[in-house]
């Protein structure tokens, strides 16, 4: 088991955003977390990535207890994430964004940076090579020296996935990777997610609203409603589950 969450709860001033959620992520799968707005999906990602501290419950990554760890330590454990509102370093260039994403794989401290040690040199070359590789992987090689603000919405989404991917994570958490994109761009992102899964061999866990896209992509789905898991299973099972149809799929399935 790659990641396990046990009885996770998060309360905001007494209001339960996530209550008693237990789930696991298997190595090598694509897991989709779906649910209506306010179901607690993003809060769940916040808990797993360490941005939020759970009120109660445990999170284990490869049998290691990571509950309550700082986000940067969790990132070092191999969990990378993107944010719902695309988060990038918008004062910096595309290549710089990726280089920062790779920072955790380099060791250059103050003295090696100051003295330009051989290790610093190696880190720099390794980073350059890795950045170039990821640039072509996410299809942004032509925009390498552009500032983030000069990129389209779809390009920014791709870059944010690249920033998460470059750290060579074991698992990547994608929070609505196609949110706000038109159909054509959505397909490109879907292809990119498949590539991350198949070519890079990274376990994917994503939050998504576009049901048709998720059904075709995910190996397994978890449905949240009002902060609790109401269903779990393959896309086929989920689409037949009466509780899910009632809570979330209703209209779309009737249509």
């Amino acid at each position: 088991m790659l990641l396990e969450a046990e009885n996770l709860s998060k309360h905001f001033a007494g209001l339960a955003a996530v209550s008693n959620v237990s789930l696991h992520v298997k190595e090598g799968e694509i897991l989709a977390i779906v649910g209506p707005n306010g179901a607690g999906k993003s809060v769940l990602f916040g808990l797993i990535s360490g941005l939020l501290r759970p009120t109660s419950g445990h999170i284990r990554m490869q049998d290691k207890e990571i509950t309550g760890w700082k986000p940067h330590r969790i990132a070092h454990q191999g969990i990378a994430r993107t944010f719902q509102t695309t988060a990038l370093f918008d004062q910096l260039r595309v290549v710089d964004n990726l280089a920062i994403g790779y920072r955790q794989r380099t060791a250059g401290g103050f003295w090696s940076t100051l003295l330009h040690t051989r290790r610093w040199e190696e880190d720099k070359n390794r980073t350059t090579a890795k950045v170039m590789k990821i640039l072509s992987f996410i299809g942004l090689a032509e925009k390498a020296l552009h500032f983030v603000s000069n990129l389209s919405q779809a390009e920014q989404k791709r870059l944010s996935i690249g920033v998460a991917l470059i750290s060579e994570p074991k698992m990547i958490l994608l929070d609505e990777p196609t949110g706000g994109l038109i159909l054509e761009d959505t397909d490109q992102i879907t292809d990119l997610i498949r590539k991350i899964h198949e070519v890079a061999g990274v376990t994917v866990c994503l939050i998504e609203h576009k049901m048709r896209m998720v059904m075709g992509l995910a190996d397994r789905m978890i449905v949240l409603n009002f902060g609790s898991v109401i269903a779990e299973g393959t896309p086929a099972e989920i689409s037949q589950n009466p509780k899910v149809i009632e809570a979330y799929l209703g209209e779309e399935h009737l249509a």
């Binding site: 990378a80 988060a87 103050f110 880190d123």
Partner: protein, 335 residues
């Protein structure tokens, strides 16, 4: 190698030659003094730029650390220690205090950090003004010796009694500061500082230890503030609580904002151009401040990274639009 250097960086080589030849060009003692102070304040402003400009944490304790370095050096050299030993020690002293102050204050953000560091700066000058036995109170410390001569076999020695020698001393330390800042800023470490400035939550999420980064940046900045303070004490010969005053911090802040936040040339441009401008506008007396007030507002609104920042941004934008993939490889290698 030499020719390539000349072709690509001719402007820097020219500036360096100019800087080295400066004592031959400037004959007026008063002007020379302004230039020496310009170099000294460039060191202070450059180091302030590291924490404020690149790391995005607005420390207003900078003159406080400058003062700590100045007092440390004055006390050490007056008790007989060599300047060349006391100087790094005064930088380290400022860095150590910076570390201890940074641990609590760097946990606050934005204006809270600015206010808490400003308080520390005020405390330093208050302590300097009242701790009679050590700091000499409001009279300060007088008779701080000039740097000890450096013996050179066969030729004799370099003494620091003349303005020329003092100028080369501060110039050497300015170049050292510039080298350190250049290496830090153009590195993965420097990028992680900028990541903290730009988006702390994302920086954490991609694995940057943001708190450690902020502490490191603060400590290095304060080391150089202390170093600049130490040189100041030795060259001026006397220091007072005013050496650590808030006014000085705000002067450097203005140099930084007008010259260019988060650029390497901006702090130096600011530290030279603004005092010179002040001199030329002497006839306007206090009305000068109106001009600077308007200038500051215009720059902050229209050129958030100062004059040099506006210049480099324009340059980078042009390069980004016309740049090709080959240049991208070079671009990554440079960062």
């Amino acid at each position: 190698m030499g020719i390539k250097l000349l072709r690509e960086k001719w402007i820097y080589v020219l500036l360096l030659v100019l800087a080295l030849a400066l004592p031959l060009l400037v004959t007026n003692r008063y002007h020379f003094q302004i230039i020496i102070m310009g170099c000294l304040f460039s060191i202070a402003t450059l180091s302030m730029n590291l924490i404020l400009g690149y790391t995005g944490q607005a420390s207003l304790a900078h003159a406080g650390f400058f003062g700590l370095g100045a007092y440390a050096l004055a006390i050490m050299t007056k008790s007989g220690l060599s300047f060349w030993l006391a100087l790094p020690l005064s930088g380290l002293f400022a860095a150590l205090i910076g570390f201890l102050i940074g641990l609590p204050t760097l946990r606050t953000r934005g204006s809270y950090f600015a206010i808490s560091t400003m308080c520390f700066g005020v405390i330093v000058s208050l302590v300097a003004g009242n701790w009679m036995e050590v700091t000499g109170g409001f009279n300060g410390i007088v008779g701080v010796p000039v740097p000890n001569p450096i013996p050179i076999p066969l030729i004799g020695e370099i003494s620091f009694q003349t303005q020329g020698a003092q100028y080369y001393l501060v110039l050497a330390f300015l170049l050292l500061t510039l080298l350190v800042m250049h290496r830090l800023v153009h590195s993965l470490l420097g990028l992680s500082f900028m990541a903290i400035r730009n988006n702390e939550v994302l920086a954490e999420a991609v694995g940057v230890h943001t708190f450690a980064g902020k502490v490191l940046s603060f400590v290095v900045a304060n080391f150089f503030a202390g170093l600049a303070g130490g040189i100041y004490a030795s060259l001026m010969g006397n220091i007072s609580p005013g050496t650590a005053s808030l006014d000085l911090t705000f002067n450097w802040l203005v140099f930084l904002l007008l010259g260019g936040v988060a650029t390497l040339s901006g702090p130096i441009v600011g530290a030279f151009v603004i005092p010179v401008l002040m001199e030329y506008l002497q006839f306007l007396a206090e009305y000068r401040m109106i001009i600077f007030g308007v200038l500051l507002i215009v720059v902050i609104i229209y050129f958030p990274r100062g004059f040099m920042g506006a210049f480099t941004t324009l340059q980078e934008r042009v390069r980004a639009v016309y740049g090709r993939r080959k240049e991208a490889v070079k671009g990554v290698a440079r960062s």
